[in-house]
């Protein structure tokens, strides 16, 4: 059974990692906490679900998995539109206004989702069912969960490589470390910020898309991932990519083992651990 | 009032302050001059408590404050103004000073009567503003003040805390040249009236000679020369290092 709990923990952690990574990239590069991040997750979920439902009988199996990317794409597009319209207006304002604007965006987007996709649940379990199960150390485990972990691993690797080795990535890191300095070096903060926001939003959308084969797309699906992502960010440290990973693993394991052992205690236990970490290290584990 | 003995501070391989000794008597106004990087600001930071020295002692009114926190030093009477002005942006000039007084008198717990009802404190704040020639600006917020006035207000707040030793870090930097003397006049007349010992970091020699009792010249972390303003002005070594004048 421990094998199952551990695998579940890794699965939770994977999805959470994608979401928190997105949040942290935006937070690190732009200094903005996007309260509507959960709505982008939801948009990813709905888009992917809708696409899968519509092509499930008509296209080859391979395309079912590719269509998960549609969630990433739409979330990225919405992120782009958000950044261009709202976030631009927020640069000169104080924190309160930034949070309020993204909060307004959250309310708006939740209803936009309702307008487009209505209030029903979208079941898109085909990608999950088709992969079947596999034997892991004597336990039967759905391959789809492993698939999600694999995709997350690829995404993490890509981001790590991107941030560390590519010119674009290094420029983004420069901005997050010292914005003024970066402007002085001639970096186009505007375009790079847009890019960071789109990237972050896309990651949230990807996470949402990956989750729909296991759970239906419903209104409000983005709320809990958002709260958990906040906890990951707080515990791992604002703007830290390493922190997002460690934080996600911490939350994932607490969740998985907590639910297994004593369901009621899971959330308070999480907060307790987060609280202890914060008392010892107020900026989070890897925070500045 | 203030005795500094063998004070040293290193940053890695670089010695910012090298075995410095100095003494400020009660009521004296001392200026420290020197090129950039001579160690002036580091010295003041150690006296006000923002940096801990590597060796040496700082005695204030015979108390050892070498390692005391800035908070304690303020309570003991070491006040400081900053190069980058630190004011309460959205409060009036009167409130900027008055809140400091409330804090000094331990009255900030009083939560029910309006601040204006505390007439003695309000009067004292008004008097301080008057001493600094800022009375007409008492209801303005820092946004509406000129650079020079903001500097004066900054010093007025340190003043309100009943500092016996004031550390002024470049009090006229950022102030328009024509206002520099006005600013210094206001500040120094208030200081003289109360007999507060003052340490000023300055670049402008005219200001220094006009207002100081003594001048200390620092170079590369050490004290190069010390004496009355006109003595220093004539000093050859000083002229060579500071002004590059030879002969």
């Amino acid at each position: 059974m421990w094998v199952i709990y551990t695998l579940n923990a890794l699965y939770f952690a994977a999805l959470l990692f994608l979401t928190s990574l997105g949040l942290n990239i935006i937070l690190g590069v732009m200094g903005i906490l996007n309260l509507a991040h959960g709505s982008l997750y939801a948009i990813g979920a709905f888009m992917a679900a809708w696409t899968i439902i519509h092509i499930v009988t008509k296209a080859p199996v391979f395309f079912l998995y590719v269509s998960l990317l549609s969630g990433l794409v739409l979330a990225g597009v919405v992120g782009f539109l958000m950044e261009k319209s709202l976030i631009r207006a927020m640069y000169k304002r104080t924190l309160e206004y930034q949070l309020l604007l993204t909060f307004g965006a959250l309310l708006l987007l939740e209803d936009v989702i309702k307008m487009i996709w209505g209030g029903q649940a979208y079941y898109a379990s085909a990608p999950f069912d088709l992969l079947g199960k596999v034997d892991v150390f004597g336990n039967v485990y759905p391959i789809y969960f492993l698939f999600v972990m694999f995709i997350t691993f690829l995404a993490g690797l890509f981001i790590w490589f991107f941030m560390g080795r590519t010119k674009l990535g290094i420029m983004l890191r420069a901005i997050s470390l010292d914005r003024e300095m970066a402007t002085g070096l001639g970096l186009d903060i505007g375009r790079l910020s847009t890019f960071a926001f789109v990237l972050g939003s896309g990651l949230a959308g990807l996470a949402g898309a990956l989750v729909v084969p296991t759970t239906p797309a419903l209104l409000g699906i983005g709320m809990e991932p958002l709260i958990l992502a906040f906890i990951v960010v707080v515990v791992g440290g604002l703007g830290s990519l390493k922190g997002a990973l460690v934080g996600a693993l911490l939350v994932g394991f607490t969740r998985s083992f907590g639910i297994a052992i004593f369901p009621e205690i899971e959330l308070p236990l999480l907060f307790l651990i987060a609280g202890i970490i914060l008392v010892v290290k107020p900026q989070g584990l890897f925070g500045r | 009032m203030l005795i500094v003995k063998n004070l040293t501070k290193r940053f890695g391989g670089f010695t910012a302050v090298d075995d410095v000794n100095l003494e400020i008597k009660e009521g004296e106004i001392i200026s420290i001059i020197g090129t950039n990087g001579a160690g002036k600001t580091t010295l003041v930071n150690m006296i006000s408590g923002y940096l801990k020295p590597d060796s040496g002692t700082i005695l204030f009114s015979d108390k050892d404050i070498t390692y005391a926190s800035p908070y304690i030093r303020i309570k003991l009477g070491v006040g400081r103004s900053f190069q980058l002005i630190q004011l309460f942006e959205n409060s009036t000039a009167l409130d900027n000073v008055r809140t400091a007084l409330f804090s000094k008198y331990g009255m900030i717990r009083r939560g029910l009567l309006p601040a204006d009802r505390y007439t003695s404190v309000t009067e004292e704040a008004t008097k301080i503003l008057k001493t600094f020639n800022m009375l007409d600006k008492k209801n303005l917020t820092p946004k509406a003040l000129s650079e020079g006035d903001m500097k004066i207000l900054d010093v007025a707040i340190a003043f309100a805390l009943k500092s016996r030793l004031l550390l002024l870090d470049e009090p006229t930097s950022g102030v328009a040249t024509q206002d520099k003397f006005k600013v210094m006049d206001s500040i120094v007349s208030a200081i003289r009236k109360e007999g507060i010992s003052t340490l000023i970091i300055e670049h402008d020699m005219d200001i220094v000679s006009g207002y100081s009792d003594r001048v200390i010249v620092m170079h590369e972390g050490k004290i190069l020369a010390e004496g009355k303003p006109d003595e220093i002005m004539e000093n050859r070594e000083v002229k060579a290092t500071l002004f590059g004048i030879v002969g």
Binding site: L86, F103, G104, L106, L107, E110 | Y71, I108, Y118
Partner: protein, 324 residues
């Protein structure tokens, strides 16, 4: 002179408000009462936001505590179910929670602070939701009519109760809250909070223990919000866990911004306006969140000082024109 004018204006408004039950229909009166309870919430919240400079996205937690104190006493201690016990009890529990949460949160600032307050309120939400044996879970708890100083209201229905005795009870508490808060913000304590808001480094340097005073502000705001929550519960008749949800906390922030957090009366005006705005939106479209979200965005972009703030700037401009 201005000060006296202000108090005269307040007195006049208070007298007018005494007659409101005769002027409004019962339905509109209930709406107004919702507005009044939120006005108390807004006053408390703004002490923390406008005067101390801390943005909490989790004040719904204290609202919930106040409301649930009423609901729980109704369920488990019906013998103590009278206003003179309920209100102090609600204040007491709000005090406890704001001390605990406040202590954890004021060690941080800005974004961290906002996230922490948000997360803690969601912790309470989760507890209220999951412990359904105690709290009624998603169904929540009923809030029947209380007694007041021995007077029972059995036999009359809620609308009558609300348009009669309860209205005056609420109005008096609202007036008292305004007077107390007014006193707090103009006192030396209030000035110290504003100093912290304006420049925390300098505040520390003039001898103000910043963390401690932030905690005091947090606790006082929690008390006011808890009071609002308790008073609200009687108007609503029912309390649910989503009072502690962060979206509800966001609405509290919205109200304060709507009125303007730079002015004392701002949150009061914002609270009343928001109550009407929300109900209007909910009554006319199923996409009321879109309406609220869109208006919030427009508000932040166009009227950052809120409605009261916009009026105040307008007034100041007119005054300047007059003197010129």
């Amino acid at each position: 002179m201005i000060k006296n004018q202000r108090w005269i204006a307040y007195a006049v408004i208070f007298i007018i408000l005494l007659f409101v039950p005769r002027l409004l229909s019962i339905h509109d009166l209930m709406l107004f009462e919702y507005g009044l309870t939120f006005a108390i919430v807004g006053l408390g919240f703004n002490l923390l936001l406008g005067y101390t400079g801390l943005l909490s996205f989790g004040h719904g937690a204290y609202f919930a505590v106040g409301a649930y104190t009423v609901g729980m006493i109704a369920k488990y201690l019906p013998g103590a179910y009278s206003l003179e016990i309920l209100i102090p009890a609600a204040l007491f529990f709000s005090l406890i929670l704001s001390i605990i949460f406040g202590f954890l949160c004021v060690r941080h600032t800005k974004i961290f602070f906002s996230i922490l307050t948000l997360s803690l309120s969601m912790l309470l939400f989760a507890l209220l939701f999951k412990l359904y044996h105690l709290t009624g879970g998603s169904d929540g708890l009923r809030v029947p009519l209380p007694t007041l100083l021995g007077i029972s209201f059995k036999g009359i229905r809620r609308p009558e109760f609300l348009s009669g005795t309860y209205y005056y009870f609420l109005l008096v508490l609202f007036a008292v809250s305004c007077v107390i808060m007014r006193g707090i913000v103009s006192s030396p304590f209030g000035k110290a909070l504003q100093a912290i808001r304006d420049n925390e480094v300098r505040a520390e340097l003039i001898g103000i223990r910043v963390r401690r005073y932030r905690l005091y502000a947090f606790i006082i705001s929690g008390l006011f919000v808890g009071l609002g929550g308790a008073l609200w519960s009687f108007v609503n008749g029912h309390v649910t866990a989503d009072l502690s949800h962060w979206v509800f906390s966001g609405e509290i922030v919205y109200m304060t911004l709507l009125g303007g957090f730079g002015i004392f009366e701002g949150p009061i005006i914002g609270a009343i306006l928001f109550t009407y705005l929300k109900l209007y939106a909910m009554g006319n479209t199923q996409y009321w969140m879109f309406v609220i979200g869109a208006t919030l965005i427009v508000l932040v972009l166009l009227l950052p000082n809120g409605i009261a703030g916009a009026f105040a700037s307008l007034g100041a401009k007119l005054m300047r024109k007059k003197s010129v």
